[in-house]
């Protein structure tokens, strides 16, 4: 053990030295001259932001390296609605995640920037900050930050190159200032895709839906449900033994109306687990038992009278 440990220390020192020296070389290597790239004249004093979480909701878990700030959220919101993230500057994230549809588009398959249909529909982003077990229908992205990287370069979605997006942001009149205010970059050429997706993730974590009629009736008990609403609730969750169980609550349970877990909804008729045209979760985990499973979407904020607040 001591021998191994000594070798490990020696190796670590060598690698560490190399990294440090390389790092110092990078820092000392001046960027090419740029007349208007310096952003240090713009104040950087980010304002911490606390999201208003309803009492019955779980804790909003925020990565330590991406705390919410007013400036970061504002930047993320701008990026979310900005068509410059697509190849021909016609589509933004919001093209398929519309607030009036619970941050989805109400379509079975979403249309990409090239007019091609996607393989799946766009998922609701309502309460997406509480999805801790993977993003997308199959959970292939671990975090919101990882997730936001992918649609930009997906040929069936925005079909743009991140390098181009970053170039557009650097050349824009406003974004360098906004990135400076959100993340403290000193030079407009310090804008990166990683910072862009951090901002988008910050914005997405504020998409809290807890203000629908459902919340008022069955979470906050502020009003009496109609007979039909009560019947629907009993069917959904099997609260009333005399009412048949529609079994919805198994996948769409909890205060979030989803557990963000992976299920098969039996819509596809297959002879065995290897016959699914879209294996979903199984392609990510490599476990054939996960074939045909997809993340249960939330039903939060599906009503037209819903609103999102943060």
């Amino acid at each position: 053990m001591h021998f191994l440990c000594s070798r490990a220390i020696a190796l670590s020192v060598s690698v560490g030295l190399a990294v440090l020296l390389l790092g110092s070389c990078e820092r000392d290597d001046p960027k090419p001259d740029c007349m208007d790239c310096d952003l240090t004249g713009i104040p950087y004093s980010p304002t911490p932001h606390s999201v208003l979480i309803p009492a019955d909701f779980p804790q909003l878990e925020i990565p330590a390296d991406n705390p919410l700030t007013v400036e970061g959220i504002a930047l993320g919101r701008r990026l979310f609605y900005d068509p410059r993230l697509s190849a021909d500057s016609t589509m933004s994230c919001a093209s398929c995640h519309l607030p009036e549809f619970g941050f989805t588009d109400g379509k079975a398959f979403s249309l990409g920037v090239d007019g091609l249909l996607g393989k799946r529909s766009s998922m609701s982003l309502a309460n997406i900050g509480f999805a801790y077990h993977g993003l997308f229908w199959d959970g292939r992205a671990a975090t919101l930050e990882d997730q936001a990287l992918m649609p930009v370069e997906d040929p069936l979605e925005l079909h743009e190159d991140w390098a181009n997006v970053v170039d557009k942001l650097i050349r824009s009149a406003e974004y360098p200032t906004w990135f400076r205010q959100a993340f403290g970059i000193k030079d407009k050429r310090d804008i990166t895709k990683e910072l862009a997706v951090k901002a988008i993730a910050q914005f997405e974590r504020t998409l809290i839906s807890a203000n629908s009629r459902y919340d008022a009736l069955f979470i906050r008990f502020e009003d009496f449900p109609t007979e039909e609403e009560q019947l629907g609730y009993d069917l959904f969750f099997d609260f009333e033994p005399s009412v048949p169980d529609a079994e919805c609550g198994h996948c769409h349970g909890s205060v979030l109306l989803t557990t963000n877990n992976y299920f098969n909804n039996a819509i596809d008729s297959v002879g065995n687990l290897n016959e699914f045209a879209d294996p979903g979760r199984g392609k990510v985990t490599g476990n054939y038992l996960d074939n045909g499973r997809f993340r249960a979407p939330t039903f939060a904020q599906r009503g037209a009278d819903s609103s999102v607040y943060a």
Partner: protein, 258 residues
Amino acid sequence: MTMRSITIAILALVLMTGASCEKKNDGPSSGTLELRCKATFGGEDLIIGKAFAYPLNNSALKFYLVDYLLSNVRLVDGQGKDYVLNEVDIIDFSQTNTDPAKAAAGITLRFEGIPVGTYPSLVVGVGVDTVVNRTKPQDYPSGHPLSIGANRYWDAWSSFIFTKTQGLADINGTGVFSLPFSYHTGGDGLYREITFQHSTVIKGGQVTTAGLDLDVRALLQQQDGNYWDIEAQPNAHTPGEPAMLLIMDNYQHAFSMF
């Protein structure tokens, strides 16, 4: 970068590396218990998706989900004093028992820092006690066995789901597994604690092993010796249903230590 800052960086690296090499050994006054949990079916390792003969009407079963909440595990010393090892863990064989080697290995829980001594008995809980059952999934952080993402809470009954036993049945020996069965248990009053008179010796700085086997076939055996008629009642997820009570009561003798 100056020589001084390089020196400081190297020193920091050495200290960090040294720290990572430091093994968290139990001291002379404490040791570790590794509890290996297995699932079997009538003595055979339970493998997910494998057909097992079921002693009723020439039928057979394939299991796709077998799990349980293991809580309040504790060693009891000679004076009857408890040493609590865990709050709650999910023992989920559906992700581990996918091939014979993994099924034979089982799922190992590791409990460190146990005071040295001889403990004449080991107690395990199946499900969660009434105090914990008053909490809700949103009270727990992601990754916790009781969190929302663990997907084991009934909003309708205000209870965590204690155990899940699911699969497909071939009800008449034709080789066609066409009947889905699903038994979920839970609810106040169904939490079970099982005490094993199993002497566990914890030695300073050493690892002691123990095994906990669950015979899934025994979960479905009724008091008269006959097996539960899966065709007649293939599902249970409402507290008070007979299958639920049967399964929870059967954990007492479906468990054995090895």
